[in-house]
Amino acid sequence: MSELRTLSRSSAEFEAYLLGTFSRTHRAVPVQTLNANSGSETVTFRIVPLEQISRPSGWMIALKTLKVRSFILVMVPLFVVLTKNTVDRTLADGLTTLIATIGVLFAFAAVDLRNDYMDHIKGVDRIFQNSGSRAIQNGWLTAAQVKALSVAFLVVALLCAMSLIVAFPVLAGVMAVALVVGVWAQFQKKNSFKYQIGGELALFVLLGPLLTVGYQLAMGVHFDRDSFWIGCLWGWLVLFVLHLRNFVNLLPSVQAGFSNTVNWLGFDRSRRMLALWWGLFIVFNCLYHVFYAGLIWGVFFTFALLVISIRFILRLKALSSPVGSEVHSIFRSGLYLFLFAISLWVIECLWYLLI
């Protein structure tokens, strides 16, 4: 039989319940959070015996906890940079490329897990019912276990990074910048980095130019502007999805006092910002292709993206509520645009690789 327990942040037991370290035989599943993100936060937990927690298979838990689908955020830029250097015949060292790929994947998994841990502690994933992997909120893992897993993955990523620095000392600079930005973003006291305007910039830099430039250097290739602009373009696209997600969560995140660009702009101006953000992506993508990948691809991309964007823009324009079903529909529609753009990039890469 499960029981309820309500604790406020000032309570000595609060942290142990939130981390899940209060018991070896029970899980504290958060069922209601009041005044999240404040000193007066109160959480009601349902205390459930471990054997009563409903769990999918171990594989499913691993896939969901690691949010495998989100790996697309690093796989795509790595693939594009790898393609570029393969086609240009500049790829110098296959082994370091492999180590760098593994390192990036482990680093991303570590950041993802750490992010889930932080969002649970700060209340974000307890308020937004569709946010994060839900592994902690469903009681599959404790927050402490997720944190430990994140540290283990980070250690592997650092080992990869160190061996790469030995091979290519120039990488130390890129990794130092990434480390500073990452540490600053992850250890922000107030909010998870995704929910701050400065944090959005950190995400742009980490998943964008730092990733692509660093990966290229790890292949033993010199820095070039091409990889830098690929990173910027990708970072811009990633932020589009982030803004979309923040837009769907506008009401609860404003109520919880989270700050990000969407919350700062408000419902009406955010709609315009999203349309503008996507429009600028089409323009930047076109310019990138004109300068680095050929006019024909640029024209094709721009035409295809413009055609498929019309419905999204019109729906965004007609959107009248931040809480209705249409806002979720807009999110899905924006996500399709994101996936469509990725598909075009992959087709382009395959064309370069195979033709």
Partner: protein, 318 residues
């Protein structure tokens, strides 16, 4: 004539200027016929916390004025023709008068409360009014949206409906200058749960469930509003199915559109089961409330306990 606190006559025409045309007639119509549940809740709280009759009246008036102001505005927004079985104010007295009468009630709330002098009570009441209006605004923004989810509706109901229940529980303590944070967080949780249960039960009336008061069947759906039970039923269904469901005009067609009466009953059982979870949480918070009460106030717990029975299961108070 002495105003009777015992009868809780929260409206008295002498409280409003006699020179304003139609105002008192409009309020006479508005304030007669309501159940006054919120004012009764205030009375229960006040009696157990030993508030003076003046403060009890002030609080009772405040909550009923806010509630009735919201009804005046609501009826106009929804274009409802009837309120408590009578012609709605906006139809009888013009929309302009209905809006002004609602605004005027809210203004009187501030006048009365500021006269009392407890600035925290004034501030909290202003916050509740603001929440209520946000809820109204958001609710209006989802009219005609038949794909809205229960979670989204809960957010709206938390602003629109639960805010007043929270006020009923917290305001008497604030009026007594008891500001303990933990106490108010507990009351806030309880108010949220009561509001949610009340709203969900009210939404069930639309489907003729425990509909003792004879509320119009499928009224919400016909007005373009998918309520919480409707959203629960539509969960996981395709757009095409939902399109068919929301077009039904009577309960028989409704049952048929969702797969029969037996399926409807099954969903109702599951919905009730889900809400029993909320009732369990309410009891849990009620248990916590005990720790904040002074000697002599413990009877309040026993009186607050059956509220979920009254509000959700619509059982008559014993």
């Amino acid at each position: 004539m002495q105003r009777s606190v015992i009868d809780h006559k929260i409206y008295d025409s002498r409280d409003f200027p006699a020179y304003l045309p139609k105002l008192n007639k409009l309020y006479d119509d508005l304030f007669t016929g309501g159940k006054g549940f919120r004012a009764k809740l205030i009375r229960m709280m006040s009696a157990n916390l030993s508030l003076t009759p003046q403060v009890e009246l002030l609080l009772g008036q405040t909550i009923e004025f806010i509630h009735n102001a919201s009804l005046l505005h609501d009826d106009l927004i929804d274009r409802s023709h009837l309120r408590r079985g009578k012609t709605a104010a906006w139809m009888k007295y013009t929309p302009e008068y209905a809006v002004l009468a609602g605004d005027y009630l809210l203004a009187r709330v501030m006048v009365n409360l500021s006269g009392h002098g407890n600035i925290k009570l004034v501030q909290y009441t202003a916050e509740v009014i603001s929440d209520l209006l946000e809820g109204e605004w958001l609710q209006d923004s989802v009219v005609g949206d038949f794909f809205v989810t229960l979670e989204q509706l809960d957010r709206i109901h938390n602003l629109k409906t639960a805010s007043l229940f929270k006020w009923c529980l917290r305001a008497p303590f604030i009026a007594q200058e008891r500001y303990d944070d933990e106490l108010h967080r507990t009351l806030e949780e309880m108010g949220t749960l009561l509001g949610q249960l009340f709203q969900r039960s009210d939404d069930l009336l639309d489907y003729d469930i425990r509909n003792e008061e004879g509320k119009a069947i499928l009224g919400d759906l016909k007005s373009g509003y998918l309520n919480s039970f409707g959203a629960y039923i539509c969960q996981g269904r395709s757009r095409q199915e939902i399109d068919g469901i929301v077009k039904t005009k009577n309960l028989e067609d409704y049952y048929a559109s969702i797969g029969g009466k037996a399926h409807f009953d099954q969903k109702l059982l599951a919905f009730d089961e889900m809400n029993k979870g909320l009732i369990q949480m309410y009891s849990h918070h009620l248990e916590r409330l005990k720790g904040f009460l002074k000697p002599g106030e413990e009877k309040l717990i026993a009186q607050l306990q059956p509220l979920t029975e009254i509000l959700y299961w619509r059982r008559k108070p014993s």
